[in-house]
Subunit: 347 residues, 2 copies
DNA sequence: CATACGACTGGAACCGGTTCCAACCTGCTT
DNA sequence: AAGCAGGTTGGAACCGGTTCCAGTCGTATG
């Protein structure tokens, strides 16, 4: 409405526009008297600088984009919260792009990185394809990945191999030898890497305990409770079934709990279940899980990005956040008697 | 990096800048031959218009802000998803402001609405104070509220009075006469209105059934499971306790379920529980609840906002979305025998 | 054949900031 | 008294688009 510009302020204060600009930007070479004259003019005219004009002349957008599959995963929302928390304190705006299909993903990777659109990008849980890599590299925009491991980019990740080991080690230490593994790896149009790493950790720990890997004990599907439910029923249906299942997310673990209930297995007596993420509902369900610092991953991601925007660094940086075993009530030693076959009872 | 500007394109194509701009904006008065010359120049130079410059000269920010307590409530995330879904198709960017404390709330209300910052604002679940109202009104920016009812602004709401009635009516129709009510109304620094309306619906339906309102059956606290847990324990501890509890959100209802479990009441045999929202986890918990169209509320909110940005309307518009009872397994008729006192057994 | 009109086009002016350069002022040196 | 350094200031040029106005050209009209 009121189109008060810097020139109005200058005229009102009887100074030049350059001087007003200097006052606005806290430049040291403005005399005290002039500064106060300008400040009271700003006050009197209720002036606010136009950020768009500022961006144009600075040649910066003062905007940071986040591209992520936000709403499909509670964990991503928590990371976003960390990101917003830091950006709110800065002079940057945060614009969000939600990816729910892989075509949206490609569209965003392409359009957001066109030059001049944003100063920096945070990409959560989405691995770039090879042609994306080139585009990202030459776009000249700073990019930080969160929850994605890629040799050519800066990233904030957890040590998912270690997380996979922690979960598996916990089950082994309880006495389990038949341990199922369940992931949403198949959902690969997004190219998540975490599942692969957690699987590696699972394998390593089995090997360390001299337990042979049994392929029929792993299943890979899409990221949903119902998918996990189906996979778990399949896993539990095999001869000499697993006594414990490690699911690579809490969402999947909940599907496993549902399946166990459905086929009449008591958790944790007949079946131990461990998840990954420690989303909010996990505590209510008393789900044993691997906690990763979700909020913090957002915080560290932005900090890293802001740093790199200052000084385009040569080599990509990597921040590794810890994982932590949270013991709750869905894991226990396997029961002494041979575990019941699932068809003995049903609900 | 490559600072290809519209002038470069014009020179390369041998035309004027105005013509290039006309091509970019699909103006009809450009001859076919000129248009194709310009298009191939754009192609050859890999030119993308600078959106900041465009915004400055258009005098629009092409940006829509959302202010909301996103991450404290799963329901808000779902609304945001609807908003993003529509904005992604438009030429607007979506910038987000997460409110977790009331000081942040005030800061955002103040700063976001400074002129020239955004073209439109969607505010979710946050009621403005009186001095905010003035500022919003004179800012000249279009504003739409979602999940907030205020006489002076356009809004997308559900009929919360009706929702409260549906929930209460359901319990009454099952045979309950002693019905507790539990809200996070006390959390009033954010000024939610929904709770008040749901309470009104609750009262209306009790009255219609000739059931006296018993003040000791209502409790109001903050929005958290643990708060609901405490309130529910208090409600269940009174003499002649309620046989059913209506909680104004699923999050609260989960706290009630925890409390019931803690004091040894079976749900739904000894206690019926009904929530509100139908967040994702409600289905897993088999929670009976009132579903509101969260995603759709975001969609409608943006559509309304875009409309109003086109043509500043006189009177505020109101879009009313339906609520729907979702019967699951946490509600049932009260058991015939007198309900057990909670202290008889404990876990 | 002169005139009018419409279709198309070039480019200056503008949006509202920042920045850089020239100019001015003061006080101090020689 | 002239010269000079340093502090302070005004304002033009610039960022990269859009828009409007004036001008060119071709054709239809009287």
């Amino acid at each position: 409405m009121s189109a008060t510009t810097i020139r109005d302020v200058a005229r009102y204060a009887g100074v030049g526009v350059g001087t007003v600009s200097r006052v606005l930007n806290d430049s040291p070479d403005v005399s005290v008297t002039t500064r106060s004259k300008v400040l009271s003019a700003i006050e009197a005219l209720d002036y606010t600088p136009n950020p768009i004009a500022r961006r144009l002349s600075l040649g910066k957008t003062l905007t940071i984009a986040v591209i992520a599959p936000f709403f499909t995963r509670p964990s991503v929302v928590e990371r976003l919260r960390g990101i917003e928390h830091v950006i709110a304190e800065s002079e940057y705006d945060l614009i969000v792009f939600n990816v729910e299909t892989s075509s949206r993903r490609d569209a965003y990777f392409h359009s957001v990185l066109r030059r001049e659109r944003v100063d920096g990008v945070i990409i959560i849980s989405l691995l770039p394809r090879d042609n994306d890599v080139d585009r990202l590299k030459q776009a000249g925009t700073s990019v930080v990945f969160v929850d994605v491991s890629h040799p050519q980019f800066s990233q904030v990740i957890v040590d998912d191999v270690e997380g996979g080991r922690q979960a598996t080690r916990h089950l082994i230490s309880l006495g389990h030898r038949k341990i199922g593994f369940l992931s949403d790896y198949e959902d690969s149009s997004f190219y998540f890497t975490a599942n692969r790493d957690r699987f590696t950790g699972y394998c390593q720990e089995l090997e360390a305990a001299n337990i042979a890997l049994r392929p029929e004990f792993s299943a890979h599907g899409v990221h949903s409770r119902s998918s996990a439910y189906e996979m778990a029923k399949r896993l539990l249906g095999v001869d000499d079934r697993p006594t414990a299942i490690f699911a690579t997310s809490d969402t999947l673990a909940i599907g496993v709990l549902e399946a166990a209930q459905q086929v009449g297995l008591d958790v944790p007596k007949d079946l131990s279940v461990i998840g990954y993420d420690d989303i909010e509902i996990a505590e209510y369900l008393r789900l044993t899980t691997i906690r990763q610092s979700l909020f913090e991953s957002g915080v560290e991601g932005v900090k890293l990005l802001l740093e790199e925007m200052e000084s385009m660094p040569g080599a990509p940086a990597q921040i590794l956040l810890p994982t932590e075993l949270v013991r709750r009530d869905t894991t226990a030693p396997p029961s002494a008697r041979s575990a019941p076959r699932i068809f003995w009872k049903s609900r």
